[in-house]
């Protein structure tokens, strides 16, 4: 049990110390995560909505496939991106391996199916209500999707937050394509993994507590903004 106590102690000491390395790591974690979630939403929201409203052959199979991709193992995604970006790989000339960009790419691949699958569900539920109205108005596919995504935006926040959680917590992919290189691609989760492998369990746990605190902060912020937005505007 003393490990847990020590972990909290370490967490507080670290935060209070304002350790420059730690700040650098936190900043990179946030940058990579937020970029990846933004990209995943840019792809996943319309894709999920399309799966929800589309009436095309293979829609059921596509839905199962996207749902299944929520179970994409991070290590596999990491490997795939590694093989693409490695000097010997097809995209090697871009020299992206072991850069934050590579990490964003890997996380985007991981998070997009989550956003798309959950979006499909939310939008489908709303579509059940709006379908006849929108069809009767002669709305085009794109307009339907835009309408549904907009009206479901508060519910879709939770979807984005699920993606955020996944990206923030993820280590398997980013450690492969980022390499956990000190001062370059080291983020919170890879640091935690490193300290764990060093046997510095309470330090690792302390960092974990900071990461969860970060997650709470971001979530609180998002929900707070959502609250004010919902209160202010009803457009």
């Amino acid at each position: 049990m003393q490990d847990f106590g020590a972990a909290f102690g370490q967490a507080f000491a670290l935060i209070l110390s304002g350790d420059a390395d730690l700040m650098e790591i936190i900043a990179l974690s946030l940058r990579v995560t937020i970029l990846a979630v933004a990209m995943a939403c840019a792809i996943g929201l319309p894709l999920g909505a399309l799966l929800a409203v589309g009436r095309f052959p293979g829609r059921g199979a596509a839905t199962v496939f996207v749902n299944a991709l929520m179970g994409l193992p991070p290590v596999v995604v990491g490997l795939g991106v590694y093989l693409l970006l490695s000097s010997a790989g097809p995209l090697g000339v871009l020299q992206l391996l072991y850069t934050p960009t590579a990490m964003v790419i890997a996380q985007t691949i991981l998070v997009t199916p989550i956003v798309a699958a959950l979006t499909r569900q939310v939008v489908e539920d709303l579509h059940a209500e709006y379908d006849e109205l929108l069809r009767s108005m002669g709305a085009r596919r794109l307009g339907v999707i835009a309408t549904l995504l907009w009206d479901a935006r508060y519910s879709l926040l939770t979807t984005a937050l699920a993606g955020l959680g996944r990206a923030l917590a993820e280590v398997g992919a980013v450690i492969i394509v980022g390499g956990n290189i000190n001062h370059v691609t080291r983020v919170m989760t890879t640091t935690i993994a490193l300290e764990t492998s060093k046997g510095n369990l309470s330090l690792a746990l302390g960092l974990g507590i900071i990461l969860v605190g970060l997650s709470i902060l971001v979530n609180g912020l998002v929900m707070g903004l959502r609250g004010s937005a919902a209160r202010l505007a009803y457009a």
């Binding site: 490695s86 072991y98 390499g179 000190n182 890879t190 492998s197 060093k198 046997g199």
Partner: protein
């Protein structure tokens, strides 16, 4: 679950990844289990984590390669006694193009100096593992503090040997690996051994029984039986027999008393 005949007769060995990744255990342990009926469950993690796990009594036997830490472990009363099991050596591997021009050399400090001077990329495990400690000692011997350049030509991957090798191949960076892991490694690309044979690259593995007085749950009999076996002529020759690509990976050197 494991073989049913060994449902209760098993021990947990906390070990490093090199012994596991090189396939040694897959060869060695079935022999022991066949003879004694005792199943050996290996938890292969970083050396630091293995020692920490053993300190927490989550293993019966510790088998790692960081002699100083091991002796500290025993001195602190976590382990009963330490015995040498086997050794191999470290090698510096690097891309076939050999940007630092060190290939074929034997003097490791000279090679490291060349790497620094040419700013050729070097990947360090940077994880305080046995390998990492050895590497840092070699830099020190060469009079270099590479961590000052961390993030530029010197890259600390903060990962295990396998991950660091993958990263090295991906970046075209030199790195230091134990020979066993290197030989067994599947993603060599155009990489080759650049420096080997310096006696400072010696890599000793030791085995320790976790102290049953500090850890009541330790299966001292079974653990000791395993240690006795691995140090015995039979165990030692089994180690010597293990080969990959025709090469011997570990060299037994137990001094049974």
């Amino acid at each position: 679950t494991g073989p049913s005949q060994a449902e209760d007769k098993f021990i947990v060995v906390q070990s490093t990844t090199s012994t596991q990744n090189s396939g040694l255990y897959d060869y060695l342990l079935p022999i022991f289990t066949r003879e004694t009926g005792v199943e050996v469950r290996v938890v292969a993690v970083g050396t630091g984590q293995a020692i920490k796990n053993a300190q927490n009594c989550d293993g019966d036997v510790l088998l790692v390669h960081a002699k100083a830490s091991e002796e500290k472990f025993v001195a602190a009363g976590y382990g009963v006694s330490r015995a040498d099991v086997m050794y191999n050596d470290f090698v510096i591997v690097g891309p076939g193009s050999d940007p630092a021009g060190i290939a074929g050399g034997k003097d490791v400090t000279a090679a490291l100096t060349k790497i620094k001077d040419s700013k050729a990329v070097f990947a360090s495990r940077g994880d305080d593992s046995g390998t990492n400690k050895k590497e840092m000692a070699l830099w020190k011997a060469a009079g270099i503090d590479p961590t000052a350049d961390s993030g530029s030509w010197y890259r600390e991957t903060g990962s295990g040997m396998g991950a660091t090798l993958n990263a090295s191949v991906g970046m075209g960076a030199y790195t230091m690996s134990d020979r066993a892991t290197w030989i067994a490694f599947g993603n060599k690309g155009d990489f080759e051994i650049a420096v080997e044979g310096d006696e400072r690259l010696f890599n000793q593995y030791g085995v320790i029984l976790v102290n049953p007085e500090t850890c009541a749950n330790v299966k001292a009999d079974l653990g000791q039986a395993f240690i006795n076996w691995i140090l015995s002529d039979e165990g030692q020759s089994a180690i010597a027999d293990y080969r990959r690509d025709g090469k011997q990976l570990f060299f037994p050197n137990a001094k049974m008393s």
